[in-house]
C-alpha cells in the first residue's frame, strides 16, 4: 500500500514563502480532511500531493520516491485530482468526459480497450450516473457534475483521490451524498484527501484531520485533538461552541468573536 509524504515541502511565489515548510505523511486507506480558512494553503498542499505543483524547497514523495522524478503519466495513474471548479463550457457528453480518465492508461495509438470500457462502466455505476451517460456535461446540475467528475477520477483506478472543496457549490443533500461517496471509496481501500473549509460537514466522514493556517500545519489527528474550540477560535477567528448530537459526534455552532 502506498504512502504520500511531504518532507519539509514549501512553496514560494515572488520570493515569499506562501506555503510550508510542512511535513506530513498520509497512509493507505485513510480519509483525511485538510481544514483551514480561505488562503490557509489547503489547495496548495493538495496540488503538491497531486504533483501539479513542484515544491520550491523540501520534497514530495510517493512511496519514498520524489513525485517529480516520476513520469507525469505514472503519477496520473496513481493520484487522481478532482478540481474545485466543475463548470465545463464545452458540450462533451458524460461518457466522453469519463473516457478522458483513461488517458494515462492508453497509448497514443491504441483504441479504447475492454479494460478501459469496464473501468468507465463500473465507475459510472458506482457514482450512480449511468442514466446520465449520454447527456452533455454542461446541461447537468451541480450535484450531478460533481458526481461525474468523481466518477472520472475513479476511471483512472488510482490509489489516491484528492478532492478540492468538493461540497463548495452543493446544497446540503448533495454535499452529504458526495461525502458518503468519498467515505465508501476509502472503505474500499482507496486513500481519499478532501480539502474543505466546512469542517462541520466532513468530521463525521473522515478518519483524520489536518488543520492549516497561513500556509502552515497547525495540528493533525482526530477531531477532538485538532478541533478544540480554542484552536477554532485561533484559526478561524470565530467563537465555537460544541453541541452534542444523536450520532454522538458533536457539531459546532459559531458566534462572531467579540472584539
Amino acid at each position: 500500500m502506498s504512502i504520500l509524504e511531504a518532507r519539509n515541502a514549501g512553496v514560494k511565489r515572488g520570493g515569499r514563502t506562501i506555503f510550508g515548510p510542512a511535513s506530513v505523511c498520509i497512509g493507505a486507506g485513510e480519509m483525511t480532511a485538510l481544514i483551514g480558512p480561505n488562503g490557509s494553503g489547503k489547495s496548495t498542499l493538495l496540488r503538491l500531493f497531486a504533483g501539479l505543483w513542484q515544491p520550491d524547497e523540501g520534497e514530495m514523495l510517493i512511496d519514498g520516491e520524489a513525485i517529480h522524478s516520476l513520469p507525469r503519466r505514472e503519477v496520473a495513474r496513481r493520484v487522481a485530482f478532482v478540481p474545485q471548479e466543475t463548470q465545463i463550457d464545452f458540450g462533451f457528453t458524460v461518457s466522453e468526459i469519463l473516457a478522458m480518465g483513461r488517458y494515462a492508461h492508453r497509448g497514443r495509438f491504441s483504441p479504447q480497450s475492454q479494460v478501459d470500457h469496464a473501468a468507465i462502466n463500473s465507475a459510472a455505476a458506482y457514482c450512480d450516473i449511468t442514466h446520465l451517460i449520454d447527456r452533455a456535461i454542461n446541461t447537468l446540475s451541480g450535484g450531478e457534475r460533481q458526481r461525474v467528475l468523481i466518477a472520472r477520477s475513479l476511471v483512472v483506478e488510482p490509489e489516491f483521490i484528492l478532492l478540492d472543496e468538493p461540497t463548495a457549490n452543493l446544497d446540503i443533500h448533495h454535499a452529504l451524498d458526495v461525502l458518503q461517496l468519498c467515505e465508501s471509496l476509502s472503505r474500499q481501500g482507496r486513500t481519499v484527501i478532501v480539502a474543505t473549509h466546512d469542517f462541520n460537514l466532513v468530521t463525521r466522514h473522515v478518519t483524520r484531520l489536518i488543520l492549516l493556517q497561513g500556509g502552515l500545519l497547525i495540528a493533525e489527528g482526530l477531531q477532538e485533538d485538532v478541533l478544540a474550540p480554542r484552536a477554532i477560535q485561533e484559526v478561524f477567528h470565530v467563537e465555537a461552541e460544541t453541541v452534542p448530537t444523536k450520532t454522538g459526534q458533536p457539531v459546532y455552532v459559531f458566534h462572531q468573536r467579540i472584539r
Binding site: L52, P83, F92, Y103, S122, A125, H131, I133, A136, N138
Partner: protein
C-alpha cells in the same frame, strides 16, 4: 462494483441532439465529390462531365488501356493542367486551415482562435515573402512552404506568450495580441514589398500572398501543399486526446497525465505546419479556420477525435465551393477568394464575439 452493475446497459438519452456520424458523412461525402466535380467542370469554358472522366481516365490509367479514349488537347490542358490542380490545392488549403483552426481553438481554449486572427497567417506570409526576396525560393522551391511554417511558428509563439498567463487566454488579450502581431508582421512584409517594388515579378508574388487566392495554381503547388497538410493532419489526429483534455484546462489535463508543456509545443508546431502549407500556396485566406470547426462542433459536438476529420473534409469542400463561387459569380472577372470566405465568416465571427462578451458558453 458488482458484475451486474458493470453490465448495466448505458442509457440512451441525449439532451442536446448530435447528428449521427453516419448521417453527417452521408451528406458530406456526396456534396464533397459533387463540388470537386463541379469545380472542374464549371468555368469560363464549360467541360461536360463525361469529358472530365475521359481526361481523368486518359491521365490516370496506363496508356495501353486508354489508347481508344478520345480526348482533345485543349480539354486535357484545361482539365488536367488548369482546373484539377487548382481544385486540389483549394481542397488541401481548406482542409489545412480548418484543421489548424481546430488545434488553435483547443490550444487557446477559445472558439475565436483562427490562423489569420492569431498572427499565424501573417507570420506565414512574411516567411514566404522573405524566401522570395532572398531568392531562396529560386534555389529550392521547398523553401517557400518551410519558411512559411517557420513564420507561422514564430508568430504563434509571440501571440501565445503575449496573451496567455497561467494557462488562461482572455478573449480581449488574444485578439489584441493577434491584431498587434499581425499588423507588425504584415508591415514588415509591406516594407519588403516597397523595397522590391522595382522588381515587378517579386512585387506581384508578394501582393498575391497578402491578398490570397488560387489563380494559376499548378501541380507544383499541389506537391508543395498536400504532403504537409497530410502530415499535419495525421499529427493532429494523434493528439486529439490531448486536445480534449487541454480544452478542459491545463491543470485538469496535467492531473490526467498530459505533459502540458510538450503537448502545447507539439500542437503549436502542428498548427504552424498546417497554416504554413496552406499559406505557401494560397496566401492569406481568412475565416475558414473559424467557420468550419465551429459549424462542425455545433453539429457533432466538441470531441476532437470526431471534430478533426469532419472539419478537414468540410473545410476542403467549403473552400472548393468558395473558389468556384469566386471565379464564376461575376464573369469575366474573378472575385478574390478571401472576400468570399470573409463574407461567410465575418458575420459568424461578430456573432461569436458578441455572445462571448454577453457571457455565453463556448459551444
Amino acid at each position: 462494483m458488482s458484475a451486474a452493475a458493470q453490465n448495466t446497459p448505458l442509457a440512451n438519452v441525449s439532451s442536446r441532439p448530435r447528428l449521427r456520424l453516419s448521417v453527417f458523412y452521408g451528406f458530406l461525402l456526396p456534396i464533397m465529390f459533387l463540388s470537386l466535380l463541379a469545380a472542374v467542370g464549371i468555368g469560363s469554358t464549360h467541360i461536360s462531365w463525361p469529358t472530365i472522366l475521359r481526361v481523368a481516365e486518359f491521365k490516370i490509367l496506363p496508356h495501353a488501356w486508354t489508347s481508344s479514349v478520345h480526348v482533345t488537347k485543349a480539354d486535357v490542358v484545361i482539365v488536367w493542367l488548369i482546373r484539377v490542380p487548382r481544385v486540389i490545392v483549394a481542397f488541401f488549403v481548406g482542409a489545412g486551415l480548418a484543421s489548424a483552426g481546430v488545434l488553435l481553438q483547443a490550444l487557446f481554449r477559445n472558439p475565436l482562435a483562427e490562423p489569420s486572427l492569431v498572427g499565424a497567417g501573417e507570420g506565414a506570409v512574411l516567411g514566404g515573402v522573405i524566401s522570395f526576396v532572398t531568392g531562396w525560393s529560386a534555389t529550392s522551391v521547398l523553401s517557400l512552404p518551410l519558411m512559411a511554417m517557420v513564420g507561422a511558428l514564430l508568430a504563434l509563439f509571440i501571440v501565445y506568450a503575449m496573451s496567455t498567463r497561467g494557462g488562461v487566454t482572455p478573449v480581449a488579450t488574444l485578439l489584441l495580441a493577434g491584431v498587434a502581431t499581425s499588423a507588425l508582421l504584415s508591415s514588415v512584409a509591406s516594407l519588403l514589398l516597397s523595397v522590391n517594388i522595382v522588381n515587378w515579378q517579386i512585387a506581384q508574388e508578394i501582393v498575391f500572398w497578402m491578398m490570397g487566392g488560387l489563380d494559376a495554381r499548378t501541380w507544383t503547388h499541389v506537391w508543395l501543399c498536400a504532403p504537409f497538410v497530410v502530415l499535419g493532419f495525421v499529427a493532429s489526429l494523434l493528439q486529439t486526446r490531448d486536445l480534449d483534455l487541454l480544452q478542459l484546462g491545463e491543470e485538469t489535463a496535467a492531473s490526467f497525465g498530459v505533459d502540458v508543456e510538450s503537448s502545447k509545443r507539439m500542437l503549436t508546431l502542428t498548427a504552424a505546419i498546417l497554416t504554413g502549407a496552406a499559406v505557401a500556396v494560397a496566401g492569406l485566406i481568412g475565416f475558414v479556420g473559424l467557420l468550419v470547426p465551429h459549424a462542425a462542433r455545433l453539429i457533432l459536438g466538441p470531441s476532437n477525435r470526431t471534430l478533426l476529420p469532419a472539419s478537414a473534409l468540410t473545410g476542403g469542400a467549403f473552400l472548393v465551393l468558395c473558389d468556384l463561387l469566386a471565379r464564376t459569380i461575376h464573369p469575366p472577372t474573378e472575385i478574390r477568394l478571401g472576400i468570399v470566405t470573409a463574407l461567410c465568416g465575418g458575420p459568424l465571427f461578430i456573432y461569436l464575439l458578441l455572445r462571448q462578451y454577453r457571457g455565453g458558453a463556448n459551444g
